[in-house]
Amino acid sequence: MVDDFKKHIDKLIKRKLKDKKYEFDYSSWLITLVEQEMEAIHPQSEFHWELFEVLSFDVLYKQSFKSLCDSGHPVARESLEKLGINDSEINLIINSVESVDNLFIEYCELFKDELLNKDNSLNEVHKKITELSLDCSQGTIISHSPKMTNPSCKYPRLNITASNSPDGFVRSGNSPVDFDMHINATKLKVFKFLSLKINGISLLELINDKNINVISSVFLANERLVNDWVLNFNSGLNEQDLRTHFAIKQIYFPVEKDYHQLSILSPSGLVFSLKNKIDHINDRSKEAYLGKKARKENQYVISGFSTIVNLTVTRHGGDHPKNISGLNNKYQSYYLLSSSPPAIKTRDLHFPRTDFFVQTVNYFQCKHAFHQLHTLYSRDDNNMHIRAERDEYYQSVVDHIIEKMWQVRSVALEQYIPTASQLSTAQKTWLCQQDEGKVLRETADDWLDEIIQSVSTFVFHGYEKILGKKAIKLGYAEHKHMQQIVIKNKEALR
């Protein structure tokens, strides 16, 4: 990837490389490139276009050189090092790149054809914007996309703003999102144009606020023309359609003695914002890059990193995501977070042959609880709260055993072979699912006492085994106490 950056630059300066017989000085070329003054966002010379080509090049997947510099990603530095540039110059280049306005890149991308057609004239661009403002009447700004339910739903078209409150719900209003747009697939440039951000404010907001001064100064257009654009855009943008559709799920929700009928829509802004956040955490952040690299090489890194696993990817519109909405076209697919319960029956589970407490559970599975217990035992103070916390950790070990017990029972019928099993009678009664064993399990108690004894011994020895030499020697009273906790779970262990 980093080599691609060098190749890309070599391609850009091919002519210059040929001309010069000596080795090309990437450093001074890049410094002059990024340090040039820019009066407006319009590229005025070939040099500006070269700057655009360098900054917008995707060094990593969907991460341009500019975005890598902005986020302080180490790959930006690595790619410059590959060009043989020294440290101080790298700092200079990265700082200058950071100060370039993102608007410049987005604007060049959007109006590339118009800008390249005529030198130093913005007439083509202005004409295109006028065209876009007229096309706008075919679209509507929305916050919830009905086409994400079914592509044939052309309405409702809603653009809502909801208030923010710490009520614990993922819903509109509780997380900042981008706007979305419904528009004819061939006119999607309108969405891209309205998404341009000037000093952090989207063009859509500026148009809604009728901020003519700012728009005219950015696009170097006279105020009358801008006024026309704003009027055209406004007439098309905000037409809402409050019809519901037969393909939209309409559900009844009981409210006191009556019902409300709810048409359920997908908040596309939130859906794609979630995708963006997950991609950032999993792949695109510098923490993920540094952390994954350090873990591979077993190096130390302060910040650590996070991963979100068990994701399911899905998409709308198949090969034509542009038919669904502006944001859908921009992101193409999105993620679904897993909400599955834990599985009781797992494929890698074996029914114990000799002893459940040796073959099925082991002390290391409860490592966390034993370490936490050690911290509690090592404390000088001893009060109600600490004792309660200690009991909770004992309980968590017992819970683990109960969970394992059910897992083993779930495979008992398939895996238990009476002739080959060397399980103690008590454990047979406890774990096997054969009918005679089950009856005994429900009616008798003596086998259960043996199990309770084994569980408390497991907790007692587990702590010593995990902590090794560091373990504090526990007395008989503590063992007795553990037993009390286990006895409380008697029925759950049955």
């Binding site: 809502i160 710490p166 409050l242 019809r243 929700f253 908040p267 955490i281 650590g304 996070s306 029925e491």
Partner: protein, 317 residues
């Protein structure tokens, strides 16, 4: 509320085939809580139509097994939905379809009921079995079979009653609301999506000992240094996004209509032997302002504690 006797109807091990696993636009897996309360409500309506005046006031759901229909290739990081393109079109090709995630489930329902005398219980159980066999759907899926439903009384604070119930539901995982985790994070300034992701992500950290040896460890976010449990995102209701009124094409012109979106919060799957009261697993409908919720009493109590009403503050002075 010690001493309150709850009458409970348990429908054990309902096998649901092809239930809707797409519980909200952000989640896949266990069906939304609204689907379960909806099924219980539909059952009540059908029973009422058969002249059984039962009222189902709350319900809990315990998952015994779930088989989600997704596929993950050998080197894939993400899963994709296994879809079916039925029926085939006239040329025999697969028809175009919108991805619909499905899952097969084995769940038990715990339903709190009222308005039925002890003598009428057998009648109720017969009718429930009949309806479940005949025409009910659950979470959009077909009911394949279930074990015979039964009624029990559970007195709040009586351990024997609770144990009896717990044994009937084991082994399984009851769905419990953990909105408190989200509220806590959001009150500390996190936005809703960040708060949700933070609890679902696996955080990798490394430590260096005195000899310079590096050890990496991975964990989920803990709560007061304790594992938070099996935390999942769950859809628990809807958020009304338009004014109540009428809309063209609505199913029923006589019922007030609103546009809405699914809301998601955190939940926990917990083995029933860990619950301290039956109330811990019961969910109820609740509507307040723009929010249409399925919620648990414990969460309401926590929210009240967190946000005392103004007059209670005044009374302290």
């Amino acid at each position: 509320m010690i001493g309150e006797v709850k009458k409970l109807l348990i429908i054990p091990h309902i096998n649901v085939h092809n239930a809707n696993a797409l519980s909200s636009p952000y989640t896949i897996g266990f069906p939304a809580m609204t689907a379960w309360l909806g099924a219980v409500h539909a059952l009540q309506r059908q029973l009422n139509a058969h002249d059984i005046p039962v009222v189902f006031s709350a319900a809990g759901v315990v998952s015994h097994d779930m088989d989600l229909q997704t596929y993950k290739g050998e080197n894939d990081f993400v899963r994709s939905i296994v879809g079916t393109g039925n029926p085939l079109d006239k040329t025999g090709a697969r028809s175009a379809f919108i991805e619909e995630a499905r899952c097969h489930l084995d769940v038990s329902l715990v339903i709190q009921f009222d308005n039925i005398t002890i003598d009428e219980r057998d009648n109720l159980l017969d009718a429930v079995s009949h309806l479940l066999h005949a025409k009910m759907k659950m979470a959009g899926g077909d009911i394949r079979d279930f074990q015979p439903p039964f009624c029990i009384n559970s007195e709040e604070g009586v351990t024997e009653d609770l144990i009896k119930l717990q044994r009937a539901l084991m082994p399984g995982y009851a769905l419990i609301e953990r909105r408190d985790l989200m509220i806590d994070a959001m009150e500390n300034g996190a936005d809703a999506l960040d708060a949700l992701i933070d609890y679902l992500a696996i955080h990798h950290q490394c430590d260096k000992d005195e000899d310079g040896k590096v050890t990496w460890s991975s964990s989920r976010k803990t709560l007061n240094n304790k594992p938070a449990g099996w935390i999942v995102p769950i859809a628990t209701g809807f958020h009304g996004i338009s004014e109540q009124g009428k809309a063209k094409n609505q199913r029923d012109p006589d019922t007030p209509h609103r546009f809405a979106e699914s809301i998601v919060t955190l939940g926990e799957f917990k083995m029933p032997h860990r619950i301290k009261s039956i109330e811990d697993i019961l969910w109820r409908y609740h509507q307040e302002g723009d929010l249409y919720l399925c919620q648990q009493a414990a969460q309401v109590a926590k929210a009240k504690k967190r946000d005392p009403e103004p007059h209670s503050i005044e009374s302290e002075f």
